[in-house]
Subunit: 600 residues, 2 copies
Amino acid sequence: MKGWIGKILRVNLTKGEWKSEDLDKSLAEKFIGGRGLGSKILYDEIDPKVDPLSQDNKLVLATGPLTGTSASAAGRYMAITKSPLTGTIACSNSGGHFGAEMKFAGFDMIILEGKSRGPVYLYVEDGKVEIREAKHLWGKTTHEATDKVILETDMDAKVACIGPAGDKQVRFACIINDKHRAAGRSGVGAVMGSKNLKAVAVKGTGSITLADKEAFRKATLDGFQKIEANPVTSKGLPTYGTAILVNIINASGIFPTRNFQESVFEGAEKISGEMIADRILVRNRACFACPIGCGRVVKVTNPKYECFSEGPEYESDWSMGACCGVDNLDAIAKGNYLCDILGLDPISTGVTIACAMELFERGIISSKEVGRPLNFGDADVMVEMVRAIGYREGFGDALAEGSYRMAERFGHPEYSISVKKQEFPAYDGRGAQGMGLQYATSNRGACHVRGYMTSPEILGNPVKLDPFETKDKAQWDKTFQDLTAVVDSSGICLFNTFALGGAEILEYLKAATGVKMDLGELMRTGERIWNLERLFNLRSGLSSKDDTLPERLLREPIPSGPAKGKVVELDKMLPEYYQLRGWDKDGIPTKEKLKELGLE
Amino acid sequence: MKGWIGKILRVNLTKGEWKSEDLDKSLAEKFIGGRGLGSKILYDEIDPKVDPLSQDNKLVLATGPLTGTSASAAGRYMAITKSPLTGTIACSNSGGHFGAEMKFAGFDMIILEGKSRGPVYLYVEDGKVEIREAKHLWGKTTHEATDKVILETDMDAKVACIGPAGDKQVRFACIINDKHRAAGRSGVGAVMGSKNLKAVAVKGTGSITLADKEAFRKATLDGFQKIEANPVTSKGLPTYGTAILVNIINASGIFPTRNFQESVFEGAEKISGEMIADRILVRNRACFACPIGCGRVVKVTNPKYECFSEGPEYESDWSMGACCGVDNLDAIAKGNYLCDILGLDPISTGVTIACAMELFERGIISSKEVGRPLNFGDADVMVEMVRAIGYREGFGDALAEGSYRMAERFGHPEYSISVKKQEFPAYDGRGAQGMGLQYATSNRGACHVRGYMTSPEILGNPVKLDPFETKDKAQWDKTFQDLTAVVDSSGICLFNTFALGGAEILEYLKAATGVKMDLGELMRTGERIWNLERLFNLRSGLSSKDDTLPERLLREPIPSGPAKGKVVELDKMLPEYYQLRGWDKDGIPTKEKLKELGLE
């Protein structure tokens, strides 16, 4: 095959067996790879009602046909499973070098089934597979585990692993690869932990065959030139990282503060990307084949929060910063570092702590439960809670269930700022209606990277939309969601889309795989993937009732700032969205739509 | 300091002591860094007449002010010492990640003095230094030594080391860093071996402070855009690597074949960059901050020559290919791999073997000396000789002295195609007069990267010159030599200069260091460095008599092909070159010139 390697590794951890299977070419063309193809396999192979942390769940590590090629930022792999946080289908996407190396090692995908009796790790080298004992790694941080697995396998191996949080099935544990890159959201690391699988190491000497080398070279050159020509990808992200958004989003009045009680943070400047660059940035780091290099290598010398690591990204900067009312950049960097080594999704981590802070300030929980006061703005307690969650120690054990379950336990789930039990990222949908609709309809719960409406609503890319307007937002959301499904499935980084559109991605895919399609068919492929995920969620028991938002976003107007007085007008947009999607009023895809998409 | 870290590490291996010294800012501004500043230090600190392999020689590992920044391909460091091959000043330049990490570890330079009693390696981490015992590493390949040093220090450490060839002081042993990148020429690895220093490992959390961040960002963006816009840097080098030159240089009739007896190789197509891409290329690899990615990861599956490594580059492809009459790409890749792990300069290795092949075919040496027949075109014996040189086994011990000393031993030094005893690279100066003059005048003996005249004479960059013409070549050579001295000293890769000129490099340097100079002063700085190297060589005992070429290039016309009938018309160019340089007829810089350059 071209672009795709053409092989899937299937590992049964219960039996300690593995086999290599051929990738179904027609299925690959229909679902591209990565998120799309991984979701199709999960959909076909598991009962959507399974307990996500039982051995009946599966975990698919999937690359796309562009992963490992020289296309721009083509180093992505995805972890697809049923989420223990949301109960929905989960697909978490990560960069670094692991994904490319997985293909070099001979496989487009690794399907992980069952549950090992004791801790193990997987080593894949050029088509050969070993399941190795990993008792000595259990409980170790992601950095320790990565180093040890490399020592035991090959100095050039690339490792994806879980930390203590994954070992202990924290519901928002992530998978960390290459020490600093995360398949972050929805608890994919907890599923890995539930299978007693500590790590997957890959190493290979293989290469990727392209359908049309010359066309691919042209597409790549064109892609790189457009990335160089675009100010976001050539200036903003390389210079300030994703946290360049802090000041922009704060100035737009949608920078959620103190668990979304406010939307302008008085301490934004102190935690901005500019401040990171000024105070703690050591240098950039780029993922495989990436010309952008948004990764931040930072060093904090303040002994209290001393660390040398990567990040914080915009999201973690916000979640452990503004959302917790913390304006101490050193502490945020430390919290981010802890998420990295413990294997925690920093968004859910920060927002869950923020939720608990609100419960504390409202007197719903007390120092007795927490073990200490838990006020907004307390940098020390924030850092300590991150650590406690990772090890499920003390009150951290309650937080490790996520904000919804934690707040529900204390009788007030309404203070959990989540959709489908997954915590919000760093954009207040009340001041950006398209983003609000996006959160409500995202197939993995609240998420900004299922259809990044911030781009048109705030950044004006590809055109500037009025963020307060609801008109046409359903159509925009649908388009963004479908295109994002394509991007994820192809194996390139979503950040490409600041500079590249569907047309450019289509050129990459055609030249790499030889697939013949036009832009309409490409977008329909994205729509197919979106609908497949929807079908999974419906079969798992979710319904249109879950396509909603927290009370706060629907009924509590933003109290101050540029978006003052706004709530998400979901009622105005959701029916239109369903209609545009070809779904009935209950959000169920019609037979016609499924037939049109070849999903019947 | 800005751009520069401002610290030099001085290690006395005899005493086992080290100290950190301040970098002299005024000296740094006068000689930039890297090659320039390292040469100045060597010039000031050693007697140019010292035995290069004695403890009185020093080895300077030097980065430039741009090394480790986000300027294009800014990952270079240099090894400066007195060469055991040529007796001249040597400066070998390498990419990868070691140079950048050396600065992150806190030092612009490491000056290595004296000689350790037993094998040691150096570990530098954030300004702290350890000299560690290395008996267990002596005799190990560069790959084994690198892995072991990383295991013993830090998983993120970057290592520069020598292989068996350096341990045994093969006169053209190189230093290998990051397993696949080489400070290749002039035997800098033998000097390291003579000091009983197996490896230098560096690791750091430091960063580089820039004088003007915004100006630097602009310069970087401009540099990347010009690299994307240039077909050599955006297409030729990424797609086919440096070996894209094989067909071009062969078609120009200056592709030296069978030890320069001919200049067109009938097997060129079989060893071309296109064939590498087609047959053995697995993927590209880029050095630190490099948007070009000329590195080749290759895999040979033919069991006889099985290997997985990087390269061959154009030079090694040619030296172990055409120059030895070998058209077996698998064997060349294997030979190149052996150079990599044994720590050998592949140019001198191949050309020395080719010289011995000619001696053999002329009956000057026999199977008795060699242990087997040594004919041109015999791929097996070529590969075996590479191995034998690396370990100084059998006839390899004679070859390990380099072609000149080896051929002289058998009474026929005229068959050594070398200048100042250093072997030629892959362009026949007879068919490219400017290159011919360049070889004769290069400060480190025959070398293509002291003033890459192939660019105008063959590739037409920045303008196309008639390669057979001698007129104006002296001026071109001088300009290219001076500019190259600037590029090397700054710490960026020479390949930038396909797309960037002095003006762009000046912008990098001004923004990084805050130095105030115009283009004229920048070029004068290059000239200063060139003249300093010249002074070193003159003091070491070399004279204008050494500014010459092998008999073959001066008096044996090229027998066939596009350059048929040509010899290097050195007499026509050398006096003009001396004059343009402000040197007297004996090639000695005049007092006026030295005063003008601030070298009196």
